[in-house]
């Protein structure tokens, strides 16, 4: 009896040693999603992660942690151990936390595992709006100062960046900026006529455009969009947009700095494989996202460029709480 017990214990001990010697991951990985369930970040992460789990041979338990423009989630991962068992699944917002006075940390405290995709910004208008294109909209604003209601999602959000870009390129536009909780509620308000024009991510507006519930005005990109080829692009409307474009919100998976290299490598390889999955690529294309699938130095270079351009654009528009200079964010060379 006791001998049996001892041998059982020994066996248990052995298997435990085997388990620790096993490669990463040996337990569940916690994936902290910065935005709420059902949003863009959430859907992207929940679509790609099952493929990454397969490649990794482990389980990633995803959890939405919302609040303070995603800063709650970011701080949670910063406070966790750098062992690769808590990863951040986020969007572009943290890159502006410092200048917007929303927090002391951004992605510089993280190693990018994969920057999966980039969204394209565009302007959409209410069907009843008295113009059908970008030139018409500018003319309307000039003739009716302070009349056009432009949707917004708070400082640092996509609409604020696009509005700052338009103000820089076209000169100050006299419009009313009406703030909403996100592009979903704002696009709803647009269809109800509470606002006239909304700068939104293409993926969020595409179904509404297809159904004829709203009309596309301008796409903020340097190349004609494959999903909406007939819509004018910003650089055609005004060549000065080229300074800031291509620009767009992005989605990425991040691990805290100091995570062991082999863990970073395992995660990077898994997500790189997952991002090549056909189902995922189709899903992203259907929503008008541009695939990126970059990591390492390439991802860091992208993040730096994104942060410099956007932070200074907002600073020039007088929307920041602190100058990018204070945080060592260099002004981009034009």
């Amino acid at each position: 009896m006791s001998r049996k017990l001892i041998s059982a214990l020994v066996a248990l001990g052995l298997s435990a040693t085997v388990a620790t010697a096993q490669e990463y991951p040996t337990k569940e990985i916690q994936g902290i999603i910065q935005w709420g369930a059902g949003g863009s970040t959430d859907t992207v992460m929940r679509s790609v992660t099952p493929h990454a789990e397969e490649a990794l041979g482990g389980t990633v338990v995803m959890q939405n942690m919302t609040g303070a423009v995603g800063a709650i989630a970011l701080n949670y991962v910063v406070d966790a151990d750098a062992d690769g068992y808590t990863v951040l699944m986020g969007a572009e917002n943290p890159m502006l936390y410092k200048v917007m006075g929303l927090g002391d940390e951004d992605y510089s405290a993280f190693t990018p595992i994969n920057i999966l995709a980039r969204g394209t910004a565009m302007l959409v208008a209410n069907n009843a709006a008295p113009f059908d294109d970008y030139a018409g909209m500018l003319a309307y604003i000039a003739e009716n100062p302070g009349e056009l209601k432009l949707g917004a999602t708070g400082p640092g959000g996509l609409p604020s960046v696009i509005t700052a870009m338009m103000n820089t390129v076209e000169g100050e536009l006299d419009v009313i900026s009406v703030p909403y909780d996100g592009d979903g509620p704002a696009l709803t308000a647009l269809q109800g006529g509470a606002i006239d024009v909304m700068p939104a991510v293409l993926g969020a507006a595409i179904e509404g455009i297809r159904a004829g519930n709203m009309k596309p005005i301008l796409i903020f990109d340097t190349e004609t969009n494959a999903t909406l080829p007939e819509v004018q692009i910003a650089t055609d409307a005004n060549a000065a947009y080229a300074t800031y474009l291509p620009w767009g919100p992005f989605f990425g998976v991040f691990a805290k700095n100091g995570t062991p290299d082999e863990v970073i490598n395992a995660l990077t390889a898994a997500y790189a494989t997952a991002a090549e999955n056909k189902d995922f690529i189709d899903l992203m294309a259907g929503r008008g996202f541009t695939m990126m699938n970059i990591s390492g130095d390439e991802a860091n270079a992208f993040l730096t460029k994104w942060q410099q351009g956007t932070a200074w654009l907002l600073d020039d528009a007088g929307l920041t709480q602190a100058s990018p200079e204070e945080f060592g964010i260099a002004r981009p060379a034009n």
């Binding site: 709420g36 369930a37 059902g38 859907t43 099952p50 701080n75 709803t188 179904e207 297809r210 189709d282």
Partner: protein, 501 residues
């Protein structure tokens, strides 16, 4: 016609039927546990059902949603802890009934009426979805604001006793709801530069603390009192009872469908508004409201289940979520390769009819599971206080932690529990606090949107109200309800009608 047949898909495939059943059963018990919300359950399911076909995945989610909205009433009636925000109003008359030994009857009526409300919601979804959606979308920020004001006026009917104390409690609730980073400008409000305050105070934590913990503390005063024996002979409400409340439940179901269909308002507000409506139109309740009035159970329970069908209306016709759960379902449809949006009805009409069928089935399962096991559940109330008080505390702590996996929420919850205990002690009603927290954002955000849209000009703001029929109706309703609660009204009524009679 062929697409209409998709409504029967659910009945022809036993596997789907089983999934709806399992979902509804799970939903009832998830809904009953405070802090474990339907929203959470459905969002976990998204990853879980990733590799499934879309029909089974939706079947399970629909079941959980329907069951969960109903399940919240269980703990509200038995323990005075609403299992979900939409069951707050249920607690106000359900719990007093349980204390009188009528828990079985309360659950029975709740179940049958939830079924009835659910049915109306589904019916409206099936026959009038495009019309209701078009109507819902015309609500402007100022209309949402007026709706919130209308909600705030419920303070009067939620406060038994002193109206002044009720107003104080409501104002406190609005202030609690404003804590944290303002979602429109990200400015910090009432945060005192503390990082933990930035995210605001969890509404669920306030709710669980105020209802659950304060109730437990209250009961500590008479631990040795014998629990009330529960009458369990009359669980199923008689046909006469159902018939008696039919006109009321039709009205409150309509409130539920409309409020549910509005993007940005859901079952919680619907239930509170329905409760208020019942209180207003019921001239002579057999039992006073707040002491166990049957009308006080019928109204919120029909409304919150009708809101389920309502929430699907903008989701299916416009791709706009009616509430948090439908927002996640839109995400789920997307992950399953569909393009949720206004074109879904055109591209995949069978999906619409399939969901209608699934909802219908979930509603039937809810009735079946809801009416079984009541006898065992009512035993909870018969347990000695020394057992039930720790149970309430444990449930409250687990519930508060589960919302965000945050221990801070537990501290908030306990703090508000103690605070709520003293509020009760000094005769301050707790209902208005919760009402204030729920309506705080709706009122604040939409007032600001409305006034920003008018370039901060009050003149054109009122011009907008008067020129829009919808706003004008709401505005007149606000004024009428407000005036009817003041002494001027009673005075005028006596002068006008008093002489005549």
């Amino acid at each position: 016609m062929e697409t209409l047949m998709a409504i029967f898909t659910i009945f022809t495939q036993p596997q789907l039927l089983l999934l709806v059943g399992v979902g509804t059963f799970a939903g009832i018990y998830i809904g009953a546990i405070p802090g474990l919300s339907v929203t959470m359950a459905v969002s976990i399911l998204i990853s879980f059902t990733f590799s499934w076909d879309v029909y089974p995945a939706i079947s399970l989610m629909v079941g959980i949603y329907m069951g969960g909205v109903y399940g919240g009433s269980r703990t509200a009636i038995l323990l005075n802890i609403p299992g979900a925000p939409s069951a707050i109003a249920t607690a106000m008359d359900g719990y007093p009934m349980a204390q009188k030994g009528e828990a079985g009857q309360a659950i029975g009526v709740t179940t049958v009426m939830s079924f009835f409300g659910g049915l109306i919601g589904i019916f409206v979804l099936a026959v009038a979805a495009p019309f209701v959606a078009d109507f819902a979308i015309t609500f402007q920020p100022r209309d949402y604001m007026l709706l919130a004001v209308l909600g705030i006026l419920l303070v009067g009917s939620l406060s038994s006793g002193s109206l002044v104390k009720g107003i104080f409690a409501g104002a406190l609730g609005i202030a609690i709801g404003a804590v944290g980073r303002d979602p429109l400008t990200f400015t910090e409000r009432f945060t005192f530069d503390l990082r933990l305050m930035e995210g605001g105070i969890s509404f669920i934590a306030v709710m669980i603390g105020m209802f659950g913990v304060s109730e437990a503390l209250q009961q500590l005063q008479n631990v040795n009192m014998k629990a009330v024996r529960q009458k369990i002979d009359r669980i199923m409400p008689s046909f006469g009872t159902v018939k008696k409340y039919l006109p009321l439940s039709l009205q409150t179901s309509s409130i539920g469908v409309i409020i549910g269909a509005l993007p940005g308002t859901g079952g919680d507000i619907a239930a509170l508004m329905a409760y208020d409506h019942a209180k207003r139109i019921t001239k002579k309740p057999k039992v006073p409201f707040g002491k166990g009035a049957m009308e006080g159970l019928v109204a919120p329970e029909t409304a919150n289940n009708a809101a389920v069908g309502g929430a699907f209306i903008p989701m299916m016709t416009l791709g706009i979520p009616g509430d948090a759960v439908t927002a996640i379902m839109i995400g789920a449809l997307f992950i399953h390769g569909l393009n949720p949006g206004p074109m879904l009805m055109v591209d995949q009409p069978d999906m619409f009819w399939f969901i209608v069928g699934a909802l219908l089935m979930a509603n039937v399962f809810m009735l079946i599971f809801g009416l079984t096991g009541i006898k065992i559940f009512t035993k909870i109330v018969e347990m000695p206080r020394s057992v039930i008080i720790p149970l309430i505390l444990l449930l409250s702590i687990v519930g508060a932690y589960a919302v965000n996996n945050s221990i801070t929420d537990v501290y908030w919850m306990l703090g508000f529990g103690v605070f709520g205990y003293f509020m009760r002690h000094y005769g301050y009603p707790l209902g208005p606090v919760i009402l204030g927290v729920i309506l705080s954002r709706l009122l604040d955000d939409n007032w600001r949107r409305a006034i920003i849209s008018e370039r901060e000009d009050l003149g054109s703001f009122f011009e907008g109200i008067i020129t829009s029929p919808l706003s004008l109706t709401l505005f007149i309703a606000v004024i009428l309800i407000f005036v009817s609660q003041t002494s001027i009204w009673t005075f005028a009524k006596n002068r006008l009608f008093g002489k005549a009679s």
